[in-house]
């Protein structure tokens, strides 16, 4: 692995070395390293680019790492990763994509991830997007995540895009069966002339299903963010969506909530707030010795932690 690749791996998956457990590291369009375990199989797809990750029922306390690295300027790819998670599992999945573009051509990764989570399974899914490089070529990412939670399944998605991605459209669609629960924590920081759109649609189909969607965004420079959080309550269910944003400089944020209740026992809540950093927060940190810029940075860092 080159130094750039190692660095990206650290940024997107917090890895200094090959991980333990199952993994598939994709670098510049090909599988660079792979490991399977007795309970977790990884199979290359035949028809399209991508892999199937098959996790046996009852698999507990195991992890799968599937980071993607792009360091060739101009590389464009669409990758399909399908997760089949059996019943009664408890697993952590670490995905993430890092693009280093030092050339003049746009690099783009479109990842389509679908999750079939079996009954009463618990999944923690972590996905981080990161871009770097000095080239004029853009770093583009369009992740699509499709989630199907069966009865009693639980999924926590922690998604973040903290730096260096020029344009992104993140789409998340989920369906929840009885007593299933989905939590999404999405964090995004844009700067310069970056654009980011996040669209989440959750169908609460089963009785007793719940979702909690929390989106935090900071738009600096001339960047633009759009957040759409939609919840459809089709049964006795509880849904909560929260969109909390800080705008700085000339940033623009458009937050659009959409709640649809199709059942009289559906209880749906949406909260959205957009504003600049509160003056008194800056004042407080300045009384502790930070200058205005340092205070701003600390507030933003905390907000996106």
């Amino acid at each position: 692995m080159t130094e750039t690749e190692k660095h990206i791996l650290k940024e997107v998956a917090a890895l200094d070395a090959l991980p333990v457990g199952a993994y598939n590291i994709r670098s510049n369009g090909v599988s660079a390293a792979r490991n399977t375990t007795a309970d977790i199989d990884i199979v290359t797809k035949e028809d399209v680019s991508g892999i199937d990750i098959i996790i046996k029922p009852g698999t507990k306390n195991q992890s799968v790492h599937i980071p993607v690295i792009i360091s060739e300027s101009g590389l464009k790819e669409v990758v399909y990763n399908d997760f089949f998670i059996g019943a009664d599992c408890d697993v952590t999945i670490i995905a993430g994509c890092g693009i280093s573009n030092c050339g003049g051509h746009d690099s783009r990764h479109d990842g389509v991830h679908s999750f079939h989570v079996g009954q009463n399974s618990r999944v923690r899914y972590v996905e981080k997007h990161y871009g770097e490089g000095t080239g004029t070529g853009k770093r583009l990412m369009n992740p699509t995540t499709v989630v199907h939670l069966q009865d009693g399944a639980y999924m926590l998605m922690e998604t973040a895009q903290i730096a260096g991605v020029d344009d992104t459209l993140r789409e998340t669609k989920a369906t929840l069966a009885e007593n299933a629960m989905l939590e999404i924590h999405d964090k995004i920081l844009t700067d310069g002339d970056q654009h980011a759109t996040a669209k989440m649609t959750v169908d609460l189909n089963g009785k007793g299903s719940t979702c909690d969607l929390i989106s935090r965004g900071v738009a600096k420079g001339d960047s633009f963010q759009e957040v759409n959080l939609a919840i459809n309550g089709k049964a006795e269910c509880r849904g909560h969506a929260e969109c909390d944003s800080i705008i700085m400089d000339r940033g623009v944020i458009l937050a659009t909530p959409a709640l649809k209740a199709e059942c009289v026992d559906a209880s749906l809540i949406h909260e959205a707030a957009i504003g600049k950093i509160a003056g008194e927060q800056l004042d407080k940190l300045m009384t502790l010795g930070l200058d205005e810029k340092q205070a701003e940075d600390m507030i933003v860092q905390g907000f996106l932690r």
Binding site: Q281, M286, T287, D291, A295, M298, G302
Partner: protein, 233 residues
């Protein structure tokens, strides 16, 4: 060490502070006076949160009127807010570490929470968001000022919202702070028990210093004023 020269603060046609002059080098100074008399405004002017429309703030012989808040902090002034500020995402430990100028790690820095009656293990990682109660926020705010140990510490109604038990602890904190800094502590308060530990008291009314003297002299002055007002009513 602190001198205010002809400080005024006017917003539109409302005079909030009117030609305030004072000089103090005392250990404990209490500022008291009716609601809306300008106490918080005065202290915010000393810290630099508000720029006066006229006058100068002199600290250790130096005119600091034009200094930003953080420069004043570096020169040795700290301020515990009347209404502590909440932050989404920042934790108690983050701010206490900052209060110690990064000289202590989070765990060490949070030991000071014991002095305000909070268990460091339970509060260290709490976010300073609206899940903390008003009294908890207030105690943490006081802990931050104690952690900084500045030459001039400003407290805006530190006892407000704090229960009886911690009242004695609060006074112990002021004493410990003084023992550490040998500086000055300026406390805005309406509480007799705080006024009773003050060396001097500033009595502010309608934006002017009506009386600034040794504790007992000001307490009798206030008592006389209150008696007169009661008679009139």
């Amino acid at each position: 060490m602190l001198e205010l020269k002809h400080i005024s603060y006017v917003v539109g046609d409302k005079v909030i502070l009117n030609d305030v002059n004072l000089k103090t080098d005392d250990r404990f100074v209490a500022i008291t006076g009716p609601n809306g008399s300008g106490k918080s405004t005065l202290v915010k002017i000393i810290m630099g949160l508000i720029t006066p429309t006229a006058g100068q703030v002199i600290f250790n012989g130096e005119d600091i009127t034009g200094d930003p808040i953080n420069v004043r902090a570096d020169k040795g002034i700290s301020f515990a807010f009347q209404q502590p500020v909440r932050f989404k995402g920042l934790r108690v430990g983050d701010l206490l570490k900052l209060a110690y100028r990064g000289e202590k790690n989070v765990v060490e820095a949070c030991e000071i929470l014991r002095d305000v009656g909070l268990d460091p293990r339970l509060y260290r990682d709490r976010e300073l968001n609206d899940t903390l109660s008003g009294g908890e926020m207030k105690r943490i705010e006081i802990a931050m000022a104690a952690a900084r140990g500045s030459a001039l510490s400003l407290f805006d109604e530190p006892e407000a919202g704090i229960d009886l038990w911690s009242f004695q602890s609060l006074i112990r904190i002021f004493e410990a702070l003084y023992a550490k800094t040998a500086g000055s502590i300026l406390i805005i308060s309406h509480q007799e028990r705080i006024l009773n530990i003050a060396d001097k008291i500033i009595y502010l009314k309608n934006g002017t210093v009506e009386c600034f003297d040794e504790r007992d002299a000001v307490l009798s002055y206030i008592a006389a004023v209150q008696k007169k007002e009661a008679q009139r009513a």
